[in-house]
């Protein structure tokens, strides 16, 4: 998991609420058994005019010039600005892998769907929640300014604008630390193996039907 302490990147504004994971990465690409290679198919149906299948040479497909990610000024974007209920729909972690593979490592939105939010942090994609008013302002500024960049500071949990505005955001306890140290969740849990076994022993007494003989 690649993790940063502080990072500055170009912002692309995606002005739609309820962006769902089917839109982020369509089903035909979920057949892959890998974690990588999803970048060319991020927002596939919005990004290309022709239909795509796994194995296609996506560089040869016709791009939709109207889709925001295809506009020259946003080509190098690393931060996506979104609207309400971002990432709703299915649990596919492929959605998060697609952003990272494409090169977007931060999504800022007023609200996220629960599973997408939790998936994002497992992979080092930073999902940042800011107030609707702030988001509106960031949309305006991004649209009005070429090469608009934001700086994300993970140690201070802040987003700062080129004008020097500074917005603080919150992360759940432990998440910030885990991200900064790049800790492996499974190793952390396995360090509590004895507690898991104690729980199981107790549970077997109370509810033996939960354990096959």
């Amino acid at each position: 998991m690649k993790v940063f302490k502080s990072f500055t990147g170009i912002v692309v504004p995606l002005d739609r609420s309820n962006v769902d994971t089917d839109a982020i990465i369509p089903k035909q690409y979920l057949k892959s058994i890998k974690r990588s290679g999803f970048g060319p198919n991020l927002f596939d149906e919005w990004r290309y005019l022709d239909a795509g299948e796994p194995g296609d040479d996506h560089a040869k497909r016709r791009e939709n010039p109207d889709f925001i990610l295809n506009q020259p000024r946003y080509r190098e974007a690393q931060i996506l600005l979104g609207r309400e209920n971002f990432g709703c729909g299915s649990s596919r972690e492929h959605a998060v892998w697609s952003f990272l593979d494409y090169g977007i490592s931060v999504v800022i939105a007023p609200s996220f769907a629960d599973i997408f939010y939790s998936n994002s942090f497992k992979n080092g994609l930073l999902s940042i929640t800011l107030d609707g008013d702030v988001i509106d302002k960031l949309f305006e500024e991004t649209l009005a300014t070429d090469n608009y960049q934001l700086t994300i500071d993970l140690e201070n949990l802040s987003v700062s604008t080129p004008d020097g505005d500074n917005y603080l955001f919150e992360l759940e306890n432990g998440l910030q630390e885990r991200l900064l140290q790049g800790m492996d969740d499974i190793a952390l849990t396995l360090s509590l193996s004895d507690e898991i076994r104690d729980y199981e022993a107790k549970r077997k007494q109370q509810a033996p039907w939960l354990f096959a003989e």
């Binding site: 309820n18 839109a23 890998k34 972690e93 599973i115 969740d185 039907w209």
Partner: protein, 466 residues
């Protein structure tokens, strides 16, 4: 002890380690596994030389990619590799898996309850958001991402943050021809697709109690479409009756003990809910979605809404966008919308009761000329066998429907069952997102009886008027 909700009880029962910051290490009793969201999890285990913590807690089945036409061969090499990867991973680890041609195979959320592999009081996870279906059994069941699949495999636990408690009360009785699907669509129409975000929704009230177990599963299935990771319904006699005798269910003295323990799986009378929504069942009409989000739903007697009447600009734009995609004009009566295809299936509506209710509507009738494909995809091999025993397959075939093998099929079109661009489908599934059933395809969600009625008429009709 203070009064607790059902969710509070399930949560408390599964805490292995309280982190003291609102999060906890939570024990997982059952993990269901399918081919799409598990390969990278097994790979992660292997890379770190880890083994599954407990084999008997896992049950695997292929469903998303399987062909529904013939089971002889899978033409798509990418799908084939994914299916064989599940095979290999289960063989290597020793996890029980139902093969594609096993009659017990089916959609993961259908087979869990059907096998008695999902029981009241359990924590149940699967790398699939519709795991919420199992909440109908009084279990805490929710979808997880692939990293969490790996985590649950390796440790039998997950690090979770407790959600808030939400209660949706459905008072009174549903009218004739109005089903669990209409109820849950109406709830989503009322609270919105983010209405339950951050919450676990417990569905209560007279109309919920009156539902069959199948109907309860339909409601909990779509809790995720209301934004909630988990939906719940308290255990009652129907729950226990449903489970008794199923292959994985406890027996004998253990059964008696289990039944006694399950009696407590309901919210205490004065338990606190952070959010309460009350709906009157008698007000619910048969529902049809018109847009590209499940909250874009109206009664079949209604019409396509006009964005101009919407004051919130971002909602208005969303509606306009959806209308363009769906090729619909504001003011069009829902009943005037013609359809090209009909899909009866998915983990929302592919259980025996769903198939019976659709068969009842089409018996002795035929699909309309403009309907180019109408298909029934049973939720499992056992549902299919049961339907065939009742002669329902023949009713569908006589009516011009295709009778398929079980799987996810055109709910998401990972196999070859898809909509072509521009095609309009009456679908009993749960998501009408852009491209969900095939790129450029247009999905209208509705109940099985309403889908069957639409197949016969060639456009939407009010099933109550038949």
């Amino acid at each position: 002890m203070a009064a607790r909700t059902l969710y509070d009880k399930l949560w408390d029962d599964h805490i292995v380690h309280d982190n003291g910051d609102g999060s906890a290490l939570v024990y997982i009793d059952r993990q269901l596994i399918h081919e799409v969201t598990s390969p990278q999890a097994f790979e992660g285990l292997k890379m770190n030389s880890r083994k599954p913590w407990r084999l008997d807690a896992n049950l695997a089945v292929p469903d998303h990619n399987v062909p529904t036409h013939h089971r002889g061969q899978i033409d798509d090499p990418v799908a084939r590799l994914q299916l064989s990867t599940l095979d290999d991973n289960c063989k290597e680890t020793g996890i029980t898996k139902f093969e594609m041609n096993d009659p017990r195979q089916g959609i993961v959320h259908v087979i869990g309850p059907e096998q008695g592999a999902c029981l009241p009081g359990m924590t149940i996870v699967c790398g699939d958001s519709h795991t919420s279906t199992n909440g109908a059994l009084g279990a805490l069941a929710f979808g997880i991402g692939t990293s969490e699949v790996e985590h649950a495999l390796a440790t039998q636990c997950l690090i979770l943050r407790k959600a808030k408690n939400m209660q949706v009360i459905v008072d009174g009785q549903l009218g004739n021809g109005v089903t669990a699907k209409d109820m849950v669509l109406a709830i989503i129409g009322e609270i919105g697709t983010a209405g339950g975000t951050g919450h676990t929704i417990e569905f209560t009230g007279e109309a919920i109690s009156a539902l069959s177990m199948e109907g309860r599963m339909t409601v909990c299935n779509m809790a995720i479409e209301a934004g909630a990771r988990a939906g719940l319904i308290a255990v009652d006699d129907k729950t226990i009756e449903y489970i008794e005798g199923r292959p994985f269910a406890p027996e004998g003295e253990t059964w008696d003990r289990a039944v006694e323990a399950w009696q407590d799986l309901k919210s205490d009378a004065d338990a606190h809910f952070d959010k309460i929504v009350r709906i009157n069942a008698a007000d619910i009409q048969p529902q049809v979605t018109w847009g590209t989000s499940p909250e874009m739903v109206v009664p079949v007697t209604g019409e396509v809404p006009d964005p101009a009447a919407e004051t919130d600009s971002s909602v208005r734009e969303g509606m306009q966008h959806a209308l363009t995609y769906m090729d619909l004009t504001p003011g069009t009566a829902i009943k005037d919308i013609k359809i090209d295809k009909v899909f009866i299936g998915s983990c929302t509506n592919s259980r025996i009761e769903d198939i019976r209710s659709a068969a009842e509507v089409i018996e002795g009738k035929h699909i309309a000329d403009n309907v180019i494909l109408a298909m029934v995809v049973p939720g499992s091999g056992l549902v299919k066998l049961q339907a065939e025993k009742e002669g329902l397959d023949q009713i569908f075939i006589d009516a011009g429907f295709e009778w398929r093998e079980p799987g996810c099929s055109m709910c998401l079109g990972m196999n070859e069952d898809r909509l072509a661009p521009g095609e309009r489908c009456a679908s009993t599934s749960n998501r009408n997102f852009e491209g969900r059933q095939g790129q450029g395809g247009r999905t209208h969600l509705l109940s099985p009886a309403m889908a069957a009625a639409a197949a016969v008429a060639g456009h939407f009709v009010d099933v109550r008027e038949l």
